[in-house]
């Protein structure tokens, strides 16, 4: 698939007067998109001045969530995914890097992010999909999932000034 079919819309808003802007991307689920996501993660973690290990954790969580949406929500077929990423300040004055994913899959995911985070990995009976979800929940500082009438909304948050 060509890049023009994969990437439908890219906009850079609120970037004019600040290096801490918002990136918005609408893509079709396919494997090539992972390179676009990696670039977005690199831009945002650089803006957030994250060190290499923390930046890698963001890459892992974003990659895994996108792969899960592509594989499980859309069954490996092309499907619309919107991604927005920005830096915000929480109620305690701490900066967070936020990634919002929105899919339009016909079936909403019924699982629990909290359960996924707590689940131990059974090495003898490994479920690869479960491992991806485990990594998402472990790498991100906060995970949210909401079933919508026409898909799913996912939010990942990463504390910027955290010592690993």
């Amino acid at each position: 698939m060509t890049a023009s079919k994969c990437i439908q819309d890219v906009s850079f808003s609120e970037c004019e007067s600040s290096h801490v802007g918002k990136l918005h991307l609408q893509i079709n689920c396919n494997s090539d998109c992972i390179y676009v996501l990696r670039s977005m993660v690199a831009v945002m973690t650089t803006r957030a001045c994250m060190e290499a290990r923390q930046s890698n954790r963001v890459s892992i969580a974003v990659d895994e969530l996108f792969a899960n949406i592509s594989k499980h929500a859309y069954g490996g077929k092309a499907g619309r995914v919107e991604l927005e990423t920005f830096i915000e300040v929480d109620a305690h004055g701490e900066q967070e890097l936020v990634f919002d994913f929105r899919d339009y899959a016909s079936l909403g995911w019924k699982g629990s992010m909290e359960e996924a985070a707590e689940r131990s990995i059974d090495v003898e009976n490994l479920c690869p999909g479960g491992l991806g979800l485990k990594l998402i929940c472990s790498a991100a500082d906060h995970c949210e999932h909401e079933v919508l009438s026409d898909g799913n909304h996912w939010r990942l948050k990463f504390c910027i000034n955290k010592s690993l």
Binding site: A52, R53, I60, D63, V123, E124, L131, G132, S138
Partner: protein, 114 residues
């Protein structure tokens, strides 16, 4: 990035082998790593070492493939060792809480950018 994943097999002797992996191990490349890894687990092979000092990024599919290796090693009675893990790759194993499950060489290489 992914397309450059390379494998080099070093036979130490009849019972020990090292598989050198270079590149990113992702959902797109891990099937190739599985194809390289699986034939190493035979009844005569006593030690299978995967050298990962050329791997900067590994996702859950890469880890799942190595878990398969662990399962194959248990079936064939060989020792399965991971070595040369970068700080990032080791961190992913820790996030999955699998860092204590594998036989991982203690040495952690410095990040290439350092």
């Amino acid at each position: 990035m992914d397309a450059n994943l390379k494998f080099t097999r070093h036979d130490q002797n009849e019972t020990q082998v090292v598989l050198q992996v270079d590149g990113d191990v992702t959902i797109h490349t891990s099937p190739r790593m599985r194809d390289q890894l699986k034939p190493l687990f035979t009844a005569t092979m006593k030690e299978i070492r995967v050298e990962l000092n050329g791997v900067d990024f590994m996702d859950s599919s890469g880890i799942a493939t190595l878990v398969e290796g662990l399962q194959w090693a248990r079936l064939t009675g060989g020792r399965f060792i991971l070595s040369g893990l970068s700080e990032n790759v080791r961190d992913v194993f820790a996030l999955a809480k699998l860092d204590t499950v594998f036989d991982i060489d203690a040495n952690v290489i410095e990040e290439k950018s350092a």
